[in-house]
């Protein structure tokens, strides 16, 4: 990265953070909308790079979808204010406001832009898209949501996130679909309690960070780049643990928030929804394991023409593996 661009991007990053804070801490719907607009405007310079045609196209697509959603959001706010005394309209207006926020986030059924755009971004921009950009729409969702509509959306999220990812070979699209699936869990956790959503979101963003940083360091964008012979054993182990943790397998960190959500589901007798959560999780873990298993068996595919020289950047990787493995158990020592 050239230094010129770097300082500019720092500026826009700073404004990005502030925009989210504006959006979530305002006491009027207008303030929320303003925050969303500033979010959009400051994210576009981050992802556009005029030397690369693909990233120009990506930033254009992002701009179009997000501005459409923002316009809709503003319009619905105005309708809501004008029909303030008519409570019969609450249902429909909440559905419409939720749909525009869902489109902002990239949740089904308005998610079609999400894998496209993710394919065109670099890893760090992807990280911002998948984690930070979801904060303000979700918090706004939690202010005024329609339970029945949202449950329907959750089910669609889960199913599309699991089924869409089965046929992918690009790592970015894979993480995009997994992000859509996790959106389903996160929206449901909003309906349980905001604290729980915060917990889930923090753990999810930590896991995504560990994986994306690993892919970024190794410069990997596609699945066939993973079958490399001379990867360090600890890197493979870290990859395995992070993927399993993202899928929600028990001793790892990613199981904890999902466990709490399932607990809530079962206590309140949401049996059918539990079934859908579980089965889609299974499909997701299937395609995670499909990525990493071959590097762990004794006989595995080896691409002999790629020679990866790894820098000895072990401490971060070791630390992240350790956190993924032990944090669930250690947290019981601290919090219970």
């Amino acid at each position: 990265m050239l230094t010129n661009n770097n300082s500019n991007k720092m500026f826009f990053l700073f404004i990005l953070f502030f925009s989210t804070l504006i959006s979530i801490s305002s006491n009027s719907w207008f303030g929320c909308w303003i925050g969303l607009e500033i979010n959009l405007l400051s994210f576009i310079p981050l992802i556009s790079n005029s030397k690369n045609l693909l990233s120009v196209e990506t930033s254009l697509k992002y701009f179009l979808t997000q501005s459409l959603a923002s316009i809709n959001f503003l319009f619905m706010i105005l309708i809501k204010f004008s029909l303030l005394k008519n409570f019969n309209m609450n249902n429909i207006i909440s559905i419409m406001m939720n749909s525009s926020l869902l489109m902002k986030m990239g949740s089904a059924p308005f998610h079609f832009w999400f894998p496209n755009i993710v394919e065109g971004l670099s890893w760090m921009n992807n990280f911002m898209l998948m984690t930070w950009q979801k904060i303000s729409p979700m918090i706004l969702l939690s202010y005024y949501f329609n339970k029945n509509f949202l449950i329907f959306m959750i089910i669609m999220n889960l199913i599309i996130g699991s089924l869409g990812g089965l046929n992918q070979t690009s790592l970015r699209k894979l993480l995009a679909f997994s992000s859509i699936n996790n959106l389903g869990w996160m929206i449901f956790s909003i309906m349980i309690s905001e604290n729980l959503w915060l917990f889930y979101f923090l753990i999810y963003s930590m896991m995504i960070f560990m994986m994306i940083s690993l892919f970024f360091l190794m410069n990997m964008y596609f699945m066939n780049q993973l079958f490399i012979n001379n990867m360090n054993f600890f890197i493979k182990l870290n990859l395995l643990i992070n993927f399993l943790s993202l899928g929600g397998l028990p001793p790892f960190m990613g199981f904890m928030p999902k466990w709490i959500i399932i607990n809530f589901l079962l206590i309140n007798k949401f049996y059918f929804l539990t079934f859908i959560f579980m089965m889609t999780s299974l499909i997701i873990i299937y395609y995670y394991i499909r990525i990493i298993y071959s590097s762990f068996m004794f006989n595995y595919f080896k691409m002999k023409w790629v020679n990866l020289l790894m820098k000895n950047n072990m401490s971060l990787i070791n630390l992240s593996s350790f956190i993924s493995i032990s944090s669930m158990i250690l947290s019981t020592f601290i919090f219970m």
Partner: protein
């Protein structure tokens, strides 16, 4: 390792001997009890019962095992993993001791299961195909007995604790005790290889000879008899005891006949063990537990000695066990043939050797108390058959012409093996009288007419003459044997029971499971789970991808369409 364990076990035997004498002279018995846990109405206690019976049996077991370990120092000296062997034998002795001293079903189960498992490990010791098959047969037959004892444990929980000896006097006519007695009898029948379960004992001769001497002659197979002796108060009026009588008499008879057709040295001795076990079980089921115990102990002595002599002979014949290759050995290996002859004659019941005291007492008790004709005939017939195969064995191995198989290997000076055999020789000469003076504080009153008293001798002489005649094989003997092929194959293959209990039991199930495997495991369950679901999901994913790969304008338009629909349906 051999010497250490030999000395330890010998010392243990001496301790047991002194305690036995003290206890039986003073009529003492000691009961240790340690209550481990007591919850709701069950109490789990670990108890140890030391009375004269358990001390005596422990003494004999430790004597035989110490001598066998000493013997195996020379017998198995070419074995690389001799320590493993010795450790297995020691674990076996420990399980047996646990079984002997326990008045409590849980520790009986521990000893019983330990015996079964370790005898499996010892039978498969040589690790060839025959040993594996034999070990599987042994382990699975013994497993039936283990299951029976587990169910007994379950049923005895009705009474509140697992110390069964306290409940005999009070609960004799209970329905629960009826079921318990049935299961105990079946467990003892599997361990002591009575008729439905008798196929494992000749097959278990694939074990090394010291293992056969210790396990299959005196300790493992007598564990069943010992269990029934302990449970004798319970079982004495039960119907199943009569069933046991019938089956054990048939066992005795059948194995006596089969031993006459056998040409494998160890199998003959195994079938002779089976016959004597049938004798023990039958006299036990007639209601004389102390005579059964007496015969158990004397039989242990001379049978172990017999196995050890067989081991020496097998070593000399360069590991050939077929008696048709042997002959005339009494001229060349005097000490071993001395031991062989004395143990064989003691087995037949020749007067004043150790086997005579127990066997003759058994036969006289059978004649004195009036039992039915079949019992009487089969007892005496089996005694005659014992003499028959014994004399046949002696003729083949010792007396007939020397077959020149191994002329340079006739080595009788292996004093390690010989010393261990001499210890047992001494005991097999004297233990009959010694035990009868200790165990029976007053002799049994037996008053028989003259010919009935001599019936044993008549039958023995008849058997010995037949044994002599059968072993004179001429050049056309094989042709003449073929005339009775059907009958002799029936009698020789143990009345086809091994086939019934192995092939007959498993054929239907294996056939059925092949059908199930082909149709369900590799058939329908692949299409309803496994591959079928994978194909469904893959098709859905491909279908979804067609939607995903679209123009961008269409995505935006779909959103607008959604809003238009919402507007139209809810605002107008």
């Amino acid at each position: 390792m051999c010497f250490n364990s030999f000395f330890f076990l010998f010392f243990f035997m001496l301790i047991n001997y002194f305690f036995f004498v003290y206890f039986i002279m003073n009529g003492l018995s000691v009961f240790f009890e340690w209550e481990i846990i007591s919850f709701n109405s069950m109490s789990i206690v670990m108890s140890i019962l030391l009375d004269w019976m358990s001390l005596l049996f422990m003494m004999f077991v430790s004597l035989i095992s110490s001598v066998v370990i000493f013997y195996s120092k020379s017998y198995m000296n070419s074995e690389l993993n001799l320590n493993r062997f010795i450790i297995l034998v020691l674990m076996f002795v420990f399980s047996m001791v646990l079984l002997i001293i326990s008045p409590n079903l849980i520790s009986i189960l521990l000893g019983w299961d330990g015996l079964g498992l370790i005898s499996y490990c010892l039978v498969i010791y040589y690790q060839n195909l025959k040993s594996y098959n034999a070990g599987m047969l042994t382990a699975l037959s013994n497993r039936i007995g283990d299951v029976m004892i587990l169910m007994v444990i379950c049923w005895v929980m009705n009474y509140g604790s697992w110390n069964y000896i306290f409940y005999f006097d009070f609960m004799k006519n209970d329905y629960v005790m009826f079921i318990i007695s049935f299961m105990i009898i079946i467990a003892a029948m599997t361990k002591s290889a009575q008729i439905p379960f008798s196929s494992w004992l000749p097959a278990a001769m694939a074990a090394p000879t010291p293992v056969s001497a210790l396990v299959h002659s005196s300790t493992l197979v007598t564990a069943g008899v010992y269990l029934l002796i302990r449970f004798n108060y319970l079982l004495i009026d039960m119907f199943f005891f009569k069933v046991l009588l019938f089956l054990s008499i048939l066992t005795m008879f059948m194995s006596g006949i089969s031993a006459n057709y056998e040409f494998d040295l160890k199998k003959i001795i195994a079938l002779s063990t089976l016959s004597q076990l049938g004798l023990m079980m039958s006299i036990l089921s007639l209601g004389f537990p102390d005579i059964a115990f007496f015969h158990l102990l004397t039989h242990a002595m001379f049978k172990a000695l017999l196995f050890m002599c067989a081991g020496v002979i097998i070593h000399m014949m360069n590991d050939i066990q077929d008696i048709r290759y042997m002959g005339g050995l009494s001229l060349y290996i005097p000490l071993t043939s001395l031991c062989l002859n004395i143990s064989n004659l003691s087995l037949c019941g020749i007067p004043f050797l150790s086997g005579f005291y127990s066997k003759d007492l058994i036969l006289e008790m059978v004649s004195f108390n009036s039992f039915n004709l079949m019992v009487f005939i089969l007892f005496y017939l089996s005694t005659g058959l014992t003499v028959f195969y014994t004399f046949r064995l002696i003729m083949y191995v010792m007396i007939n012409d020397f077959n020149l198989m191994m002329i340079y290997n006739l080595y009788d000076e292996d004093y390690i093996m010989l010393n261990s055999m001499f210890v047992l020789l001494f005991m097999s000469l004297l233990s009959g009288s010694f035990l009868s003076w200790f165990i029976f504080s007053y002799p049994y009153m037996i008053y028989l007419p003259f010919n009935l008293k001599l019936m044993v001798i008549y039958v023995s002489i008849l058997g010995s003459i037949l044994g002599f005649m059968v072993s004179n094989m001429g050049i056309y003997s094989l042709n003449k044997l073929l005339l009775s092929y059907n009958l002799s194959s029936f009698l020789c293959l143990m009345w086809f029971m091994p086939n019934l209990s192995t092939y007959g039991l498993s054929y239907i199930y294996l056939n059925f499971s092949q059908i199930l495997f082909k149709n369900i495991d590799m058939g329908w369950s692949e299409i309803y789970s496994g591959k079928g679901i994978f194909n469904i999901l893959k098709n859905y994913s491909v279908f979804y991808n067609i939607y995903q790969m679209n123009n961008f304008k269409i995505y935006l338009f779909s959103f607008i369409l959604w809003f238009m629909i919402l507007f139209i349906f809810f605002f107008i």
